[in-house]
């Protein structure tokens, strides 16, 4: 299925030109504009903004909560994908259809719904209260909100790969004397890991930048439950455009490094 240049098929110049112009106008030039805007700051000024205590606390919270949510998703998502692929049971189709709900549901709706659910008087919140566990207005609430909005990523990346693994492979392994954990360790995990990592990465990237679902449940206390995107909003509301830009650039840079690392890890895994 190697693609050759097709002199017979028209439209190369038109489509490539249109793609480049459109992408540049909507995405690339505006993003580059932010970098140019940030260059109004000298390095010490930039550093002073991003190393401020409030910014560092938000940075830790945003990336920490996103990591926790992506990991939680890695567990719950794998469970859901496994059950959806391997078993036929009542309600399977409903679960399969509703898994994508977090993608379709506006994040603001998710935000107020989860806040109502986990607030001290909410359906779940009152039970948590009994065991002295506070969810809404704490980092735990942020993690749960991020888990909700990114739930489909791991399920939808692992599911098709799992469907393609022939059952015979596991059966052959156990016929050859492998126990359950050996089958898991040597057959299933190597086959699923690349897809799992992709899902994990997508969930993580989305969770770092997520805003709508978090701001309602977070409580937004500076230094405690304030996420980075909100801090950009706060700076913009104070007309501190340079401050907002500096944080925006830092977010892009840190995300980029994270994604690069995961990408490298993925390459090593799929090679080894």
């Amino acid at each position: 299925m190697a693609l050759r240049p097709s002199p017979v098929i028209p439209g190369f110049n038109l489509t490539l030109g249109y793609t480049l112009v459109y992408l540049s106008l909507i995405v690339l030039l505006p993003l580059a504009g932010m970098l140019v805007y940030a260059s109004k700051l000298s390095w010490p000024e930039f550093y002073a903004i991003v190393s401020h205590d409030r910014v560092l606390a938000a940075l830790k919270l945003s990336f920490g909560a996103a990591l926790a949510a992506a990991l939680l998703n890695g567990l719950v998502g794998t469970l859901l994908a496994w059950v959806l692929v391997r078993y036929r049971f009542p309600g399977r189709k409903i679960i399969d259809a509703l898994i994508d709900l977090p993608f379709a549901l506006p994040t603001a709706v998710a935000g107020i719904a989860l806040t109502a659910l986990y607030a001290p008087r909410g359906w779940v919140g009152q039970w948590a209260n009994e065991i002295a566990l506070k969810i809404a207005y704490t980092p735990l609430g942020i993690i749960l909100a991020l888990t909700f909005v990114t739930l489909p990523f791991v399920v939808r990346t692992v599911q098709p790969v799992l469907e393609d693994i022939p059952r015979e492979l596991e059966e052959a392994a156990s016929c050859l004397g492998a126990n359950k954990f050996q089958v898991l360790r040597h057959v299933l995990i190597p086959a699923l890991l690349p897809a799992w990592l992709t899902g994990f990465t997508l969930a993580f990237a989305r969770a770092v930048g997520e805003y709508g679902s978090v701001i309602f449940i977070a409580g937004n206390m500076p230094g405690k439950t304030e996420i980075l995107p909100l801090l950009i909003m706060v700076k913009l509301d104070q007309y501190d455009y340079l401050g907002a830009t500096a944080i925006g650039v830092m977010m892009l840079a840190v995300s980029f490094v994270f994604l690069l690392l995961i990408n490298l890890l993925q390459r090593r895994i799929s090679r080894g």
């Binding site: 439209g11 992408l23 505006p30 259809a97 379709a104 994040t107 709706v109 109502a116 995107p229 925006g248």
Partner: protein
């Protein structure tokens, strides 16, 4: 012989219990993570009966917000549809240098925070932005106005259609189009009669995802909107305003409207997916 029979039934029973507990765990996770939030939205919206639900949804500000949301969807989805087609066409039908870079760049908006997406347009068109003075002189307003909302929605929904089409069209290759050309079809004839029928369900799928995101975008739109009631408020922003005014019943009523739209999107998606699976 009998011992063998015992061990296999033992194994089967163990398997069965394993399956049941995994299915139960999946059901619990599903109920906890997805069904409970849905239930909360409905129950909060209908707390004071249907009358207050309809009042909140039919209020002029809510209607204005709905219209603006539909306008943003109506502009951004067709534009990104055409872009998706063009991008998928050049990526899947030709070889050229820098192709994988182009594919990465198309996906870029997915890894940019919506707040940053809004911010970049404020830096371009806002009062302190690059074109701020020029726009003010010519009395054009983009930020805190409808064009800004449309631009922000465009940015966050750029990849959806292209992303669905690229793998599909790569898999289909170029043979059918080449055959059409050799049989004398013009470029447009080839596109309408060969390419489009092949990709229509993938295209629909991308459009559904794009529409769902455009309907619900909050962060990016929130940065550029300025929250002017009745003018620059989309439905999700209207939910936020009502919620922050402690008008919870109204907030959840409008949220229910959005939830119903989301469920319709899911139904259409499911239907398209089944069609796609058949081809």
């Amino acid at each position: 012989m009998s011992t063998l029979a015992i061990t296999t039934t033992g194994l089967a029973r163990e398997r069965r219990w394993g399956a049941i507990s995994l299915i139960a765990a999946a059901w619990l996770a599903f109920l906890f993570f997805l069904v409970l939030p849905l239930g909360v939205v409905l129950s909060e919206a209908l707390k004071q009966g249907y009358a207050s639900f309809f009042t909140a949804v039919l209020e002029p500000d809510a209607i204005a917000a709905l219209k603006l949301t539909l306008l943003a969807v109506g502009i951004s989805v067709p534009l990104n549809l055409v872009f998706g087609l063009a991008a998928a066409w050049c990526v899947s039908k030709y070889e050229f240098r820098g192709k994988s870079l182009l594919v990465t760049l198309i996906d870029l908006p997915f890894s940019v925070s919506p707040i940053v997406a809004g911010l970049i347009y404020v830096l371009l068109f806002g009062a302190q932005g690059f074109f701020g003075d020029w726009l003010a002189e010519h009395d054009i307003q983009i930020i805190f106005a409808v064009p800004g909302i449309v631009l922000a929605t465009l940015f966050v929904t750029v990849p959806f259609v292209a992303r669905e089409l690229i793998p599909l069209m790569q898999q289909q290759g170029t043979q059918e189009e080449e055959a059409a050309r050799l049989l004398g079809a013009s470029g447009w004839q080839m596109f309408w009669h060969v390419t489009l029928p092949n990709i229509r369900w993938g295209l629909m799928y991308g459009v559904v995802l794009c529409t769902a995101r455009a309907l619900g975008e909050f962060g990016a739109v929130s940065v550029v909107s300025g929250h002017i009631r009745g003018f620059t408020n989309t439905l999700p922003l209207h939910v936020e305003i009502l919620y922050n005014e402690y008008n919870h019943v109204a907030a959840f009523s409008v949220a229910t409207l959005l939830l119903l739209m989301a469920l319709v999107m899911l139904l259409v998606k499911q239907w398209v997916q089944e069609k796609k699976g058949m081809i």
